[in-house]
Amino acid sequence: MKDIIEILNEVNPGVDYEHEEELVTNGILTSFDIVTLISMLNMKFDIDISVTDLVPENFESAKAIKKLVDKLK
């Protein structure tokens, strides 16, 4: 979880990622941010996030992102 929050802060700093539950719905993560985030997650965890994983639910919170990463590991 710590790693994911670190990456999120690098992509878009200044957000309370531990508690924010609607990163996509509230427009905190833009499409540019999501692409940067995916590229960093792919490299960090050696996974391959594909277009099929690109649904808002997978990126709404740090918890949801961790769940996606765990699934693809």
């Binding site: 499409s31 540019f32 692409v35 940067t36 995916i38 590229s39 792919n42 490299m43 996030i49 594909s50 277009v51 099929t52 690109l54 649904v55």
Partner: protein, 495 residues
Amino acid sequence: MSYTSLQFLIFVVVLLFVYYIVPKKYRWEILLIGNLVCYYLMSGWLLLFVVLASLFSYFGAKLIEKRKEKRKKIFIISLFSVLGFLLVLKYNNFISSLLNPILNIVNLNIPFKKFILPVGISYYTLEMISYLADVYLKKIKPENNFFKLLTFYTYFPKVLEGPISKYRDLSKEIFSEHIFNYESFRKAWVLIGVGFIKKLVIADRCGLFVSNFFLEGHTGLLTIPAIIFYTIQIYFDFSGCIDIVSGVSELFGIKLAENFRQPFFSQSIEEFWRRWHITLGLWLKEYVFFPVSLSKTNMKLNKKMRNAKYKHLSKFILVAFPLFFVWFFNGLWHGPTLKYVLYGLYYYLLMMLGILFKPVLEKIVKILRINTEVFSWKLFRIIRTTFIVCIGMLIFRSETITDAFNTLANIRVMDSVKFFELGINIKEFVPLLVMIFAMFFISLAKELKIDVREKLEEQNLVFRWIVYWVIIFSVIIFGVYGRGYDAASFIYGGF
């Protein structure tokens, strides 16, 4: 038959009557018949093209699900089978002009041919691609009933000019059972009325000035109002059409996707394109930007840059590569010529410069101690964005890029023509200005999250009816009507 014609209004009223008297579960079938009749009235037997393409997308989607081992191949074949109509009918000359110089080497040549386009081909082709892609990406199950799919593709309010819809969203609206609601009905008519004002009172009136100015080849300072009027014309023409069709759709209880969100309040180009032709932007984001961004090529490119520790540059390239395709297709979608491609790339270039120099610009703002939260700064950004958009519109209006540059250069060349000699006299200019301001205040209210139509519904009967009559008489008295009282065609309908 145009959306602003009397025939269309009669068609809608008759269809509404039949729609609401048949049992709820048969209503979508009435819509299908209405769609086919409407399409035939607009495009004649070119209707067969949309039916054929619908069949390809229907069977393609079914096969993608059935033949799991060959789903990728089937997806690509289906994609090109629906795209083929658009490529052959609309882009054949553009493709020929690119290929002929190479083919000429081996004494081959693709002849130039101009075809009559089926109405809305650029719109429904994108909808077919999104349907196939959604089935391929397992976002939706393929539709079992071909006629339901055909009802969606040919849905008459959106077939000519969008909004570009997705089957997964609009099917829920079309095929759910709707009951007649008088309040929603009134609100829908208000939206239609506003659409008519935008189109007939504002867009077509500005169009007179614009046509006279550019066709007669005028120069001088009046170029500036001509460019501004053209920007106003395009916006009110397109958003007016969307208001009319959204209102018509609401009469049937079906809500269409939002296509404009007060674009001229945007503080940046990115924001402008999130608010202007929203459904095209979303389509390009979902079916071009993300797939190219997450492609192996882009990811590898990014990995190399990151490993080389060029962090900002790697972030830049990560979006620059897919955005090139987004803007290339955005331009090309508008028209099959190099000018439209350059129109798309104009925005691409500006956006890329914005991203590349973002850290530098942020530093300058910090050094100059500019308060970015104040109204004056936001207003400056809005004016700057509008200026960039106006230049973009000039490229859009000109025959070639060189023409656009010449128009700008000719601002210095004085011309004897006066403002009121270009198709709008003072008596017409005043109501035009009043209506533009009225629309500005409606947009401002929306920007402040006020639901204008809901507020109107809350008013007393007398006030409401005064507003209804003002709308009706504004269209009748101040609207621009050509020969036989037929309004000018919608600009975006040409795509």
